[in-house]
């Protein structure tokens, strides 16, 4: 454990910082995948029309499927304190309880509740008492966080609701292990199975698919993250529950998954077996895609914090990464990932990419124009304009919603990455015979 904690702290990879004028999703978007993951939850976003408009458009057709989330839309009376926050929220929560009967209501605080200093944390226990439904408060606002960090704030808030004591004795062979990070149930099963093959029993997940099944967390428990944007959750686990954090790269790509499994085994005192075989097998199954990527260059504009892991994986696939833009870089939580990136670059004999925290999109586009990368991973605001300038793009948000974790999903990630390249190939074949519109400049 000492080892892993030390490796948590140090990395020599340099990180630059720009102006923070970049495009990303508002962190309240985390309700989109969290309400689906936590089946008995209800998410109430307390904000303005702006928040509602964003959710409505970003979530697309989900909004028509009677989702388990809603806006508590603040009106002028709420802002000027003519209405009583407590009474208003209580009224809405009672209504939600009556209509949906959730096991938990999660309040998502927004920019507006921050600015008018609405005391959500203070009101929650009272309303929880009055409505007899647990109320969890997460401040996932655009003043402090970017996109996926929304999930981080929600999970960090959930930790306080996890039980502290085991009702029955934990798994006998090694200390209990809890994995944190929201992944689709199918992916959770795959990762759990992967560890099971190493004799590791996963005691629980944060979050689990039911709020009522939150895992036990105390100083006996080892915890390990599955996604790179969960630094606040990790900190809370260590500080508030004295959990032991396993510092590992994230299980994205076969290389990442392998080291992730290895680190977990090591920390629990087990010897990993057959892992390199497993990794090789996975690589051999994606040979065709790797070939497509070989020697191609990629530029991450940065918006969802998955960038370091993806860049490391794609470097291993033979790509050259020019720049990794990232909204926020927690060098401690991502330390193992950064070190693996450095190691991968060395082994593949490519230069270490430039890592830019809080990037400036305007400057980045200038750099993209100079570098002319083969692929730019970017948000939807820039994808079409870049394509129309002959630069191939991949929409970054897809990586957030697709299944990308573990050996089993390796092909899915590469499917996404290679899709624009494959399309180009197809269109170029056509173009030679028809028109020159498709010929890239």
């Amino acid at each position: 454990m000492k080892n892993s904690q030390q490796s948590l702290l140090k990395t020599s990879v340099p990180v630059e910082c720009e102006t923070g004028n970049y495009h990303t999703f508002c962190p309240i978007s985390c309700v989109a995948w969290l309400y689906q993951k936590i089946e008995d939850s209800f998410f109430l976003v307390i904000g303005t029309k702006t928040c509602g408009y964003f959710l409505q458009n970003a979530l697309g057709v989900m909004i028509f499927a009677q989702p388990r989330y809603a806006m508590a839309e603040l009106e002028e009376g709420d802002i000027s304190a003519q209405l009583n926050d407590y009474k208003e929220l209580k009224r809405l929560c009672l209504k939600i309880k009556q209509n949906r009967n959730p096991s938990v209501i999660v309040w998502i605080g927004t920019c507006t509740t921050e600015i008018i200093k609405m005391d959500l944390e203070g009101m929650a226990p009272k309303i929880e008492h009055a409505c007899e439904v647990p109320v969890v408060v997460a401040r996932a606002n655009g003043l402090d966080y970017a996109f996926t960090q929304g999930e981080d704030t929600v999970l960090a808030a959930m930790i306080h609701r996890c039980p502290k004591d085991f009702s029955s004795s934990p798994y006998p062979k090694h200390p209990p292990l809890v994995l944190f990070g929201s992944v689709p149930d199918v992916v959770a099963t795959q990762l759990t199975l992967e560890l099971k093959q190493q004799g590791v029993h996963v005691t629980g997940w944060l979050p689990s698919s039911k709020y009522t099944e939150l895992p036990v967390l105390n100083d006996q428990v080892y915890v390990c993250g599955v996604s790179p944007f969960l630094s606040r959750t990790a900190t809370t686990l260590m500080r508030r529950r004295r959990c032991r954090l396993i510092g590992a790269p994230f299980p994205i790509g076969p290389d990442g998954t392998r080291v992730w499994v290895e680190k977990i085994c090591e920390s629990l005192g087990l010897t990993p077996k057959n892992l390199s075989n497993r990794e090789q097998q996975t690589w051999s199954r994606v040979k065709d895609y790797k070939q497509l990527l070989q020697g191609k260059s990629v530029f991450f504009m940065g918006d969802n914090l998955l960038e370091i892991s993806l860049a490391r994986f794609l470097t291993r696939c033979g790509m050259v990464v020019y720049e990794i833009g990232i909204p926020y870089m927690d060098c401690r939580f991502q330390c193992a990932e950064l070190n693996l990136l450095e190691k991968t670059c060395r082994e593949m004999s490519v230069p270490l990419p430039r890592i830019v925290e809080k990037p400036d999109n305007y400057n980045q586009i200038k750099r993209i124009r100079e570098l002319q990368p083969d692929l730019v991973v970017t948000g939807l605001a820039f994808a079409n304009p870049l394509e129309s300038r002959g630069i191939t793009t991949k929409w970054s948000v897809e990586f957030t919603f697709a299944q990308i974790h573990g050996f089993t999903c390796t092909r899915d990630v590469l499917e996404l990455v290679t899709r624009p390249l494959r399309r180009n190939k197809l269109l170029e074949l056509e173009a030679t015979s028809s028109s020159n519109l498709f010929v890239r400049s």
């Binding site: 495009h23 458009n57 926050d85």
Partner: protein, 534 residues
């Protein structure tokens, strides 16, 4: 506080941004937290814009919260001025800046002394007005800014030699706006009217001072452009035509109004300087034009007489949308197609009186609300045979099994078609006729299919294996399963989305048979996924 899932009109700043990004070489800077620049995604995706959306944010973060924006906004303005040299930078407040109460006007004043471009603060209050009202205001504000100098006052008298018109209110993310604009231009051209300027779409702000040289203004949509038109009428005596040329009757009315406006300006100009301007004669009589277009260019009039349309007589329809489209559609259905409109509604609450007056006598009842649950309750209660509404009503229709034609924003990407689909003018009448007919007809088709027992393979092998239903003409598509599934594996299979589940099941079974597995466990499932996915 109000519990809400869906809103018809967006927040105010969206309206401002839509206007700003429609002008050429205008840049909008939002005073907003990270993530509020979602407008760029909308424009880039829905309009499939090839250019970068000229909107950036001056980010409001913790530091701004603690110390105020200080020089940040000004720096962002001057920086953008250097980088892109726009003609105008429009500083756009959001809900966040509304409550921060920073003196944005002061930033604008300070920035305009440093920047070489013009700088304006959009005058919109987030908590008082919505997207459409904000767009209307911003358009007026920009027009006012560029026409309030002395040159314009003088130019106002120098009308163009030929009759000409400005079209006000064509802009980005508008429902079929681009197609409507093309159709309007064609129509006006036929009437001997040149298009002077189309604002805001594609116009540069420094041309706006010439705006008043046009003979009159055309405001095709009720929601945006009217404020600017009224301002121009009041200050420069420019008449405007605010009839929406949607449907045959209204298009004819529009044409007559155009004629009137033209005559009005001609009189006025002739009284200024009697000889200089020669007004060309009408290319043909107005009535002949309307008659020919109605009978031969538009098929809608003939269509409404045809046997097809007879079947629509008295069918019940529900209409909901923005004021312009819902009102026009109600009139078209009632007067031109003989359909009974059981309820007509709009979410433009601020303009409710106008709407009520427009649809009075053409529908059984009027609904003015921006609460989608009220709309869907009403639809459920009235059970119309077709709905004409927004995307929300389309989904309500899906749930209730009622067909829906989309006639108004808010819309999805499929309502930004690549092909020519105007709603206005004579070609528009054709499009609307198709839309109406297809909505009803498909509803009928489904209904008849149900009566006659559905598609012959609808119930597939399941009905057959249970010994129910009609005998199958075709072999069942999926072969019978030869291998058992473990209960956990079956549960896992349930988690896979329905539309691929069948394929995953078949592939897994094939894999398991090849591996000679006895039972499909979760492990087998994922081994199958890894092996078979390539």
């Amino acid at each position: 506080m109000k519990l809400a899932y869906w809103m018809y009109a967006g927040p105010a700043h969206i309206g401002t941004l839509r206007v700003a990004s429609s002008f050429k070489n205008v840049h909008a800077i939002m005073h907003a937290p990270l993530g509020d620049d979602y407008f760029n995604v909308l424009r880039s995706m829905l309009e499939r814009a090839r250019d970068f959306t000229p909107v950036t944010a001056s980010i409001v973060d913790r530091h701004v919260l603690a110390r105020g924006s200080q020089d940040k906004v000004i720096e962002n303005i001057t920086r953008k001025d250097r980088e892109e040299s726009p003609d105008l930078i429009l500083l756009t407040p959001t809900c966040t800046s509304s409550i921060l109460q920073e003196d944005l006007q002061n930033f604008v004043n300070r920035a305009s002394s440093d920047a070489s471009c013009d700088v304006i603060l959009a005058d919109v209050n987030h908590y008082r007005i919505n997207e459409l009202q904000a767009a209307d205001r911003t358009l007026e504000q920009v027009v006012r800014f560029y026409t309030s100098n002395k040159d314009t006052q003088a130019q106002c008298r120098e009308k163009t030699k030929m009759p000409s018109a400005n079209i006000l209110g064509i802009f980005t993310l508008g429902f079929h706006n681009q197609h409507d604009c093309r159709e309007l231009k064609r129509l006006l051209n036929d009437l001997g009217v040149r298009i002077h300027q189309t604002i805001p779409e594609g116009t540069r702000v420094n041309q706006l001072s010439e705006l008043t040289r046009a003979w009159f203004n055309v405001v095709p949509y009720r929601e945006v452009g009217l404020m600017a038109a009224r301002y121009l009428e009041k200050n420069f005596g420019m008449p405007y035509v605010a009839v929406t040329p949607m449907g045959i009757i209204n298009t004819a009315r529009f044409i007559r109004e155009i004629h009137k406006a033209k005559a009005l300006t001609r009189l006025r100009v002739e009284s200024f300087n009697s000889t200089e301007i020669k007004v060309p004669e009408e290319p043909q009589g107005l009535d002949t034009y309307v008659d020919e277009q109605t009978r031969f260019v538009s098929q809608a009039a003939w269509f409404s007489k045809s046997i097809d349309c007879q079947n629509l007589t008295g069918r019940r329809a529900f209409v909901f949308g923005d004021g312009t489209h819902a009102a026009s559609m109600t009139k078209i259905l009632a007067c031109e197609l003989g359909i009974r409109v059981v309820c007509a509604g709009t979410y433009c609450k601020h303009d409710g009186d106008w709407f009520r007056e427009q649809v009075q006598g053409f529908c059984d009842q009027v609904l003015i609300t921006d609460d989608h649950t009220q709309v869907s309750d009403m639809i459920a209660k009235l059970e119309p045979s077709a709905i004409f509404g927004t995307q929300m009503e389309r989904h309500v229709g899906k749930r209730l099994d009622i067909p829906c034609g989309v006639i108004s924003a808010p819309v999805h990407i499929q309502n930004f078609p690549l092909s020519y689909r105007p709603f206005l003018g004579y070609e528009g009448t054709n499009q609307i006729a198709d839309l109406v007919y297809n909505s009803f007809n498909l509803g009928m088709e489904d209904h008849l299919l149900e009566i006659f027992g559905g598609h012959d393979n609808a119930n597939g092998s399941e009905a057959n294996s249970q010994g129910q239903g009609s005998p199958q003409l075709f072999e069942p598509i999926a072969q019978k399963c030869l291998i058992d599934w473990a209960p956990e594996a079956l549960r896992e299979l349930e988690k896979i989305p329905g539309f691929v589940r069948g394929r995953v099941k078949r592939n897994t079974e094939k894999f398991a048979l090849k591996q000679q597995a006895q039972l499909i466990t979760i492990e087998v499932m994922y081994a199958a996924k890894e092996t078979l996915s390539n």
